[in-house]
Subunit: 193 residues, 2 copies
C-alpha cells in the first residue's frame, strides 16, 4: 500500500522567488552541460581554464510519481552566455501521459522553448507575472535567460510526467537563442538531428 | 481526432491577481449558495430583503478535460459573513484520477479546508505567497475568506480532475469557519451528514 500523502504548505517570496521549503535541490554547472551548448569550443575553453560556473539551480517540491499528484518548484538561471548562446537549462521531454505544465515568471527575462517530438519548435516569453501553458503535445521544454539578471520562475507539473533528458542531449533543440547585435534572436540549430 | 492544443501565455498581476486573459468567468451570488451556509435563516433574511450580494468570482483558463492537460485560474472571494460564518466557495470534490491541486495565495487572508471522502477534515492557511499542496486523497476543497479584504488566489489543477458540487450541497463540509470574539475558528458542522 502506498504511503498516504498529507496536505502541506510553504511560502514563495514573490520578489526573490525563494521557497521556504523544498525536498530536492539541484545545481547545474557548465561541466554538466557540455553537450547542451552549441559552441563546444567555448565550453571546452572555459573548462580547461578551470572555470566551471553555475548555470542554473532548481528547488523542487517533488511528490511521488503517482497519477494525480502534482510537483512544483522554482528554477533560477544565472545571466550569461556560452559563445553567443544564452544560458539555458538542459531541457527535457516529458515521457508520460501527464505532460501539461504551467510556468509562472517571477523575475528576469527570457524564453521558454517548446518543442514537439517531430521537431516543431516555438517559444513563449518568460517575465514577471507571465503564465505559460504548455499542452501535452509540446512536451519538449527548455528555458533560456536572455536578461542581465537571474531568470526565476515557478513550474507546476504532474508528478508522474517523467523527464527524458537523454533525447535532448543526443539531438538538441531545433532552435537556439543567441545574441545578435545585443538582442536575443532564435536561430536554427545546425547540430539538431 | 482531437483538436491540437497550442501553447499560450498571459499575464497575472501579482498585486491585484488580475489575469490578462481567461476563457471562463463565473460570478457566484448568495442566492447560488443557499444550501452552502449553515445559517439558513440569515441567508433567507437577506434574500427576502432583496439583498443578493456577490460572494465570489473566478476567472479560469480551462483546457479540455483530457488526461495530461492542466487548467488554472484565479478566484476572488469578497470579505463578509453570513451569520457568523465567513464567506466561502461552494467547495467541490474532485471526481477523477487527477485530483492533486496547487493553491497560491495572492492577496488577503483565509483558509483552504481540505476534506477526505470519509469526512476527515483539515485546513491550510491562505495568504500572499503561500503555496498549498493538496494530495489526491484530500480532494474535497473549500476556500474561506476570514480577512477584511478580498481573498485572491491562483489554482492549478489537472484538466480532467472533474468537480462534484452536489455531494457538498447535500452533505456539507465537516467543519465550518466562524467568527468567535472577532477571530476565525474552525468548529464542527452540526448539519454535516
Amino acid at each position: 500500500m502506498r504511503k498516504e500523502l498529507k496536505p502541506y504548505s510553504l511560502c514563495l517570496n514573490f520578489e526573490s522567488g525563494e521557497l521556504s521549503f523544498y525536498n530536492k535541490k539541484v545545481e547545474i554547472k557548465l561541466s554538466d552541460l557540455k553537450n547542451f551548448f552549441s559552441n563546444r569550443e567555448a565550453v571546452e575553453s572555459k573548462l580547461t581554464k578551470g572555470e566551471d560556473p553555475l548555470i542554473y539551480s532548481y528547488y523542487d517540491c517533488v511528490q511521488p510519481p503517482v497519477r494525480g499528484e502534482m510537483s512544483f518548484g522554482v528554477t533560477r538561471i544565472l545571466p550569461g552566455k556560452i559563445g553567443d548562446e544564452y544560458n539555458h537549462t538542459r531541457g527535457h521531454y516529458h515521457t508520460d501521459g501527464g505532460a501539461g505544465e504551467i510556468y509562472v515568471g517571477i523575475k528576469g527575462e527570457g524564453f521558454l522553448l517548446l518543442q514537439k517530438r517531430d521537431g516543431s519548435c516555438t517559444s513563449e516569453k518568460l517575465e514577471r507575472g507571465r503564465v505559460v501553458y504548455t499542452p501535452t503535445d509540446w512536451n519538449g521544454h527548455r528555458t533560456v535567460n536572455t536578461g542581465k539578471d537571474e531568470l526565476v520562475f515557478l513550474t507546476i507539473e504532474q508528478a508522474d510526467s517523467g523527464h527524458d533528458y537523454e533525447t535532448i542531449k543526443e539531438k538538441g533543440f531545433a532552435k537556439l537563442v543567441v545574441e545578435r547585435n545585443g538582442k536575443p534572436v532564435m536561430v536554427n540549430n545546425s547540430r539538431y538531428k
